[in-house]
């Protein structure tokens, strides 16, 4: 099955490719992967004091669908609040890009990356909902 035009567009002109400063307290970094295909995806968000995602960057080593899924994910989360970004579901990404069934896992990876980046940001802010991580449970 050939790639859809939208996948090719994101693959050839990826939006928001690059990186943000991992050390910055307002930056959340999510790195996820799919061992079956060996793809690795990094998605970073910069969040302002109103919990709004003001910038997003990604870097993906993987197939065209994985690159397009993460590129689209950064486009969609920019301008959203952290909570709104958490609402994005992989099926919406898959539908927008018209991914074939064998490539659905690429959109899952992009959703996982958004969640991982937000979890990292929240951890940094000491508002993690996972008390076992990094011993910040008492400030939750």
């Amino acid at each position: 099955m050939p790639y859809s035009e939208k996948v090719i567009d994101h693959f050839e002109n990826p939006r928001n490719i690059g990186s943000l400063d991992r050390g910055n307290e307002s930056v959340g970094t999510g790195i996820v992967g799919a061992p079956e295909c060996g793809d690795v995806m990094r998605l970073q968000i910069q969040v302002d004091e109103n919990n709004r995602i003001v910038d997003a960057k990604f870097k993906t080593f993987g197939c065209g669908s994985a690159i397009a899924s993460s590129s689209l994910a950064t486009e969609w989360i920019k301008g959203k609040t952290v909570d709104e970004a958490l609402e994005i579901k992989n099926v919406e990404i898959a539908r927008e890009l018209a991914l074939p069934p064998v490539k659905i896992h690429c959109s899952v990876l992009a959703e996982d990356a958004i969640r991982a980046a937000i979890a990292d940001y929240k951890r940094k802010q000491g508002r993690s909902d996972k008390p076992e991580s990094a011993g910040q449970s008492d400030s939750a």
């Binding site: 790195i31 996820v32 992967g33 799919a34 061992p35 079956e36 295909c37 060996g38 690795v40 990094r42």
Partner: protein, 204 residues
């Protein structure tokens, strides 16, 4: 996975009464045995279920069995026997391909003792994903700069990492009979790491 065909290995050929090396066929009178399609890969070769194995010995066993079950030898026989020889050959080929590869062998041991597949458990040891990401970027930069020295160093680094990971895989496979979930999870993580490292090496 045990199934209804999970009967003990016939030690004696029921046709010529001689001892058999493999449950698949008699090496003396060439009688074929319809072992189950999910028969244990190790059992097919008359080997114990164990990670450590002698690859030359496995190869010899594979050749010997293949000589007895190859479809070419059953061309003049009943259609039923032709079909059986074809099915057994495919099964033995697949078992051989799995067992000769250390990663696939460990995957097989893990999943056939109830461990999760990589699709079900994507976790990796420590910060491996972040390290793989950095290595990918370093490789990308080195390639853009046509820096063959750095690329060679990276290759050596990844190969050393693979060798170290494989040692852990071997040690954990030896502990699978403890039926500990921790051992299974740790093995899954190191096998997932092998996938990423293998993929990384393929880019070099």
């Amino acid at each position: 996975m045990p199934d209804s065909h999970d009967k003990p290995v016939p030690l004696k050929c029921t046709s010529c009464q001689r001892p058999m090396d493999s449950p698949v066929c008699c090496q003396d009178c060439h009688t074929l045995y319809p072992v189950g399609t999910s028969e244990d890969h190790f059992k097919l070769f008359g080997l114990p279920r164990r990670y450590a194995l002698d690859l030359d010995d496995l190869h010899q066993r594979f050749l010997s069995i293949s000589r007895n079950i190859h479809p070419d030898f059953f061309g003049a026989q009943a259609a039923e026997m032709q079909a059986l020889s074809l099915r057994l050959s495919a099964q033995v080929n697949e078992a051989y391909a799995t067992l000769k590869d250390p990663v696939l062998r460990a995957e097989y041991l893990l999943e056939s003792t109830g461990g999760k597949s990589s699709a079900k458990d994507k976790s990796v040891p420590g910060e491996l994903l972040a390290e793989v990401m950095l290595m990918r970027e370093a490789i990308e930069d080195a390639r853009a700069a046509a820096d063959s020295e750095t690329l060679a160093a990276r290759r050596a680094e990844i190969e050393a990492r693979q060798a170290a990971t494989l040692e852990k895989v071997a040690a954990l496979c030896g502990r699978l009979d403890e039926q500990s979930e921790n051992v299974q999870t740790e093995l899954r993580q190191h096998l997932n790491a092998m996938r990423y490292l293998g993929n990384l090496l393929a880019t070099l």
